[in-house]
């Protein structure tokens, strides 16, 4: 090995790394500058506000506690009147089954197929970063969207909750009390747990996106898979496969509100999401790096 070869290695690699970062940055800006993305985030931000206003109207002046609540609707709804922070938990458990994954499905499904149908994919491939890096950048930007979408719901719920209802000490669902600061901390953890719950589904959407050249088809298929999995998860006859369905442990984030926190299901959720991300991420890689891209 000559001296020249040794020095050439890093010299070539440095621009490549820069390119990868550049791709990620440009991916993020294209994703978040789209009107579609902004509209999706707007809808997500509106959900907790609507829930808050509905609960507020329902309970009149908001001073009477919720014996009428009766435990219907999404979890935590009955506690919202007493503590605005619970609106964060109620909004997240209301949006997690449908709204959030749907938004992620739209972004993930569109990520590769949308570029292909728009005819811009081949220009992206001209960049000397390679397909693997491009795919990683795409997946990273979808993951960033997962986190941003969840935080949008959480922050909007926190703002609406603080405006419409009193805030203060939090009663955990085990009946013990924690301070408002720790409550906020747990709300933050919950938002992260919810975002992580979407990791596996995002990889699934990315894989579907590499299968087709039609953005709409990819989005529809991704959301279709989501709905199918949710339906299968509710069928008691299919008990055996439930632990392997990606939405099965989604609501495990509520365990963060127990005292002490019950980690078992959340760890299982984490493992399941990691398996989904690995399986469908590598499937997307296999497909995308071997695909003939002519458009």
């Amino acid at each position: 090995m000559s001296q020249a070869e040794l020095t050439a290695g890093p010299a070539v690699r440095a621009p490549r790394r820069l390119w990868a970062l550049g791709i990620l940055r440009s991916e993020l800006t294209t994703t978040f500058r789209r009107w579609r993305t902004v509209a999706l985030l707007g809808v997500l931000a509106a959900v907790p506000v609507l829930i808050g206003i509905a609960v507020r109207i329902e309970t009149g002046d908001g001073s009477e506690g919720g014996p009428g609540g009766g435990g219907g609707g999404p979890a935590f709804l009955s506690q919202v009147t007493n503590n605005g922070l619970f609106l964060v938990f109620a909004a997240l458990s209301a949006t997690l089954p449908v709204f959030l994954p749907m938004a992620v499905g739209v972004i993930a499904g569109d990520s590769v197929a949308g570029e292909a149908s728009g005819g811009t994919l081949r220009y992206l491939l001209v960049a000397p970063a390679g397909r693997t890096r491009l795919l990683l950048a795409k997946y990273a930007s979808v993951l960033v969207f997962c986190l941003v979408a969840t935080l949008v719901v959480a922050v909007s719920a926190l703002a609406a909750g603080a405006l419409l209802f009193p805030v203060g000490e939090v009663t955990t669902i085990s009946g013990t009390r924690i301070g408002f600061g720790e409550g906020l901390l747990r709300a933050g953890l919950i938002a992260v747990a919810v975002a992580v719950s979407l990791v596996g589904f995002a990889a699934l959407g990315l894989f579907i996106s590499t299968l087709t050249d039609s953005g709409i088809a990819a989005m529809a298929a991704t959301v279709g898979v989501l709905i199918t999995a949710q339906i299968l998860d509710t069928m008691p006859q299919l008990d055996g496969i439930h632990p392997y369905l990606f939405p099965h442990y989604w609501l495990s984030f509520t365990d963060l509100l127990r005292d002490p926190v019950y980690w078992d299901e959340m760890v299982r959720n984490l493992g399941l999401q990691a398996v989904y991300a690995a399986v469908f991420g590598s499937a997307a890689w296999a497909r995308f790096t071997t695909k003939d891209i002519s458009v």
Partner: protein, 408 residues
């Protein structure tokens, strides 16, 4: 990653080698899925393997160990799986136990209603005990939790789903309150085991059946089996912690085979003193608090209007309870207040469809006692005779009929 990239950037100039390499990439996701599946399948099997080596012990010694156990502090997670062959008891509970239903004017946070739900399905519970005065039991639901906290003179029940609180004051020791929980739904493995051991007699064989790992602890397995035939109970297994003598797992297998009818065991256990804060409870702001005394008054008021309730109250002070047989084959004979059992066909009391429905639920039997209908679950069978007597026991249908014959 770089080599992979080069494989497809010059992809147009494909040789067969490159084509094969491309196809090979599809192996990766399958390999990942395979490894994941193998891990999921193997890890529990590996963790399960190798029952711990413990010194030999007789059944007598093991029972003494349980009795002598003075472990007063523990906390842990319990998984309870119940399959009694009854459709979900959650909704039915109300019609069985007086005061258990959460109708208007009553509290869904009352312990009776909640503990009844444990009688079917799988539930995760958390238990914390610190001496006789402080206990906590939580039933973990999806996004909700039901907590029952006993601290000194106070018993609190908190249902986070409806944000309702149930409060009872116990007079004196507080022991009386504990037993308010419906019998037959014992909450901890310890209670379950004690109940099973109470049945020990000439009728029962008790042996030590090897060892097992429960919640990461070494345990002896105590096997209890009826010597008589005719019982629906096949065997009862209690896993007892080898060092503390605390029962850790309770399994009740029906004699008909199949899945255990009751399987309750710790999945995690800690014998350290639980955090004192777990036993303190103040009703959260805005929660509806129901006092036990109010609830009783309310129930009495309602009872006047509610015919079913009245019947059940009557059932409570019924006179004729006879126990036929002994040990595992004991059958209770109950005289239904107010006479007849199932109305005979075409008596006009009941619409034909309802009649058919009742018959579909049970089996018609005849014997020296006359005729009647047998209702079966996996553990408890009941014979309702046409002349209004009920025979109930954890025995097979034949044994039930025999008991009814001898009672005649």
């Amino acid at each position: 990653m770089a080599p992979n990239d080069s494989a497809m950037t010059n992809g147009e100039a494909t040789g067969t080698v490159v084509g094969r390499r491309k196809a090979a990439r599809y192996i990766v996701p399958f390999a990942v899925a395979g490894v994941a599946a193998a891990t999921i399948g193997l890890v529990p099997a590996l963790a399960d393997s190798g029952d711990p080596e413990l010194p030999e012990i007789t059944a007598q010694e093991l029972i003494e160990k349980i009795a002598a156990s003075d472990q007063e502090q523990l906390s842990g997670t319990v998984k309870v799986t119940t399959d009694l062959g009854i459709p979900s008891l959650g909704g039915l509970a109300g019609s069985f136990a007086p005061g258990a239903a959460s109708g208007p004017g009553e509290s869904s946070a009352s312990p009776d209603a909640k503990l009844m739900e444990l009688a079917s399905g799988t539930h995760t519970l958390r238990v914390a005990v610190d001496g006789p005065d402080k206990q906590r039991l939580s039933i973990l639901g999806e996004g909700s939790e039901y907590s029952l906290v006993h601290n000194g003179d106070d018993v609190w029940g908190y249902d986070s789903e409806s944000n309702e609180v149930y409060h009872a004051k116990s007079d004196g020791s507080g022991k009386a309150e504990e037993h308010k929980a419906p019998k037959g739904v014992p909450a901890t493995p310890k209670e379950l085991a004690e109940e099973a051991l109470a049945a020990v007699g000439d009728t029962t064989s008790v042996t030590v059946d090897g060892t097992a790992q429960v919640a990461g602890r070494d345990a002896y397995k105590l096997l209890i089996k009826p010597k008589q035939s005719g019982s629906t109970i096949g065997s009862v297994t209690v896993a007892v912690d080898a060092s503390t003598g605390v029962p850790l797992k309770f399994t009740l297998a029906p004699s008909s085979g199949g899945k255990a009818a009751v399987d309750a065991g710790f999945t995690a256990v800690d014998f350290a003193k639980p955090d004192a804060s777990s036993f303190s409870f103040t009703p959260p702001k805005g929660a509806k608090v129901t006092e036990a005394d109010e609830l009783k008054d309310e129930a009495e008021k309602k009872g006047a209007a509610d015919k079913v309730r009245k019947d059940l109250t009557a059932l409570e002070d019924f006179k004729g309870l006879n126990v036929i047989g002994e040990g595992w084959n004991a059958v209770a004979e109950i005289e239904v207040p107010g006479g007849a059992g199932l109305p005979a066909q075409g008596s006009g009391d009941v619409p034909a469809q309802a009649q058919q429905f009742m018959e579909a639920l049970g089996d018609k039997v005849t014997g020296d006692f006359g005729s009647g209908t047998v209702f079966k679950t996996r553990l408890v069978n009941a014979l309702l005779t046409d002349d209004g007597k009920v025979y109930v026991g954890a025995v097979t249908k034949d044994a039930l009929v025999k008991a009814a014959d001898t009672a005649k």
